[in-house]
């Protein structure tokens, strides 16, 4: 986390705020609720209290404006800059401005006002931007549900104001997964146009042959329409498409764009309704088959005919001897299958039908 220079903060823990105007995108009551809930996030973990004024000057003046809106710090139209706020202090200090050219929502359909307000009010209380992609104070917008403060955010604000005297217990948002955690497991792995994409929690790592360090990013920052939790993924490079599985739905990505008509139900592939989740998926380019792993079984899907092969499901143990009986994620490179289960990675020779190497899962992340 970071503070502003000189660790600017409110000297009085009882801070006032006023909502000067409202966006037409939402009902007034929704805006009031979003702002109040956003303030509660910070008062939950500090001694701060927030009193609403309906006229006159408050410490934190909240308003919606477009382009040049009176502070010589113009907004830029839709997307790009969403909002900004000023560090604690007199006059414009603490003031919080939202770009009216954005579309504001109370869900994930557009920019979620509560999430942006919680971030901006963090600035109005003295927090600057965090480099932790899992922190609320990270500068890039990403939609998430649940309590928005991570451990990093809580440590930062309590360094300024101390903890909540009533010791309210809050469950911080989980931090970004650590790639060198020896017990690291993966949710899903896929190729994407020559890169390897590894999904874990709300994040993904991107491995590029020329990039020494894997780059960690929030899933929602790149693909706002797919869920924060990916179960399985595979690339069909012949069709230049990546299929992402989450629960009983699947999404198709062409590069970074969502293919029209998705999401679809996984049962469209020919899976029985009792299958509620796919644990891992991998496309075997040499055979044109896609293997779908669910619990101890797996299925073979023929991409050319878009049908499930007969004689399935078969058990993983039976056809992939030496492997675990379940799979978290799977990838295929040059005749070798890579199975990931918990913190172990199995390199499996598809031709000689046996495990040829066992590694730690995160060895693929240069750990």
């Amino acid at each position: 986390y970071n503070h502003f220079p000189r660790h600017l903060k409110w000297q009085n823990n009882n801070v006032t705020f006023r909502i000067v105007n409202y966006t037409p995108d939402l009902k007034k009551s929704d805006v009031n609720r979003a702002i109040r809930t956003a303030l509660n996030v910070w008062s939950d973990v500090t001694p701060l209290t927030f009193k609403k004024l309906h006229e006159g000057n408050a410490d934190i003046m909240i308003s919606f404006g477009a382009k040049e809106h009176g502070d010589y710090n113009p907004f830029d139209g839709p997307n790009g800059l969403l909002a900004h706020a000023y560090p604690p202090g007199p006059g414009i200090g603490g003031d919080t401005h939202f770009d009216e050219d954005e579309h504001w929502s109370k869900d994930s359909s557009a920019y979620n006002l509560f999430i942006v307000a919680a971030h901006e009010l963090g600035h109005a209380l003295g927090m600057s931007h965090s480099t932790d992609p899992g922190a609320l104070m990270y500068p890039v917008y990403s939609y998430a549900t649940g309590f928005p403060l991570s451990e990093d955010d809580i440590e930062g604000i309590q360094a300024l104001y101390g903890p909540n005297p009533n010791h309210r217990k809050v469950k911080p948002k989980p931090d970004a997964p650590n790639k060198c955690d020896p017990m690291l497991s993966f949710d899903a792995v896929t190729e994407l146009r020559g890169e390897t994409i590894i999904f874990k929690d709300r994040f993904y790592w991107r491995l590029h042959p020329q990039m020494p360090e894997p780059e960690q990013t929030l899933i929602k920052s790149t693909w706002p329409s797919i869920p924060n939790k990916v179960d399985a993924a595979y690339e069909n490079s012949e069709k230049d498409v990546v299929i992402i599985f989450s629960g009983i739905r699947m999404w198709a990505l062409n590069g970074y764009d969502l293919v029209d008509g998705y999401p679809k139900y996984i049962h469209k592939l020919g899976l029985p309704k009792k299958v509620r989740k796919i644990d891992a998926a991998v496309h075997i380019r040499d055979t044109g088959k896609t293997l779908l792993f669910t619990d101890e079984d797996y299925w073979s899907y023929d991409e050319a005919t878009s049908t499930m092969d007969s004689g399935y499901p078969r058990t993983i143990e039976e056809d992939f001897p030496g492997m675990d009986d379940e799979v978290d994620a799977a990838a295929y490179h040059y005749g070798h299958l890579y199975f990931f289960h918990d913190h172990i990675q199995y390199e499996y020779s598809y031709t000689s039908r046996k495990v040829i190497r066992i590694l730690r899962t995160n060895s693929i992340l240069n750990c």
Binding site: P5, F75, L82, A83, H84, H119, E120, H129, P139, Y141
Partner: protein
């Protein structure tokens, strides 16, 4: 009519605007010196845990285009 700038120049303009707003790149003239520009690019790449090359590569440009907060990432 002003000819549409080749994408190279567009990217450079986008980057300069981004770095001026969020990384304190000095205004137009001085900022043209590649040394300052490269230094600011590295600061931004370091902040976002990208490969610190000083070059305006695709990953860096991609992050610059993401919706974000208007408060600078460094300095006053």
């Amino acid at each position: 009519f002003a000819l549409p700038l080749p994408s190279e120049d567009n990217n450079r303009l986008l980057a300069e605007k981004y770095l001026r707003r969020f990384y304190d790149l000095p205004a137009a003239l001085q900022g043209k010196s590649s040394g300052t520009f490269e230094t600011k690019i590295k600061a931004m790449q370091r902040f976002f845990n990208l490969k610190v090359s000083g070059n305006l590569d695709d990953n860096t440009l991609e992050v610059m285009k993401l919706a974000r907060c208007g408060v600078p990432d460094i300095g006053e």
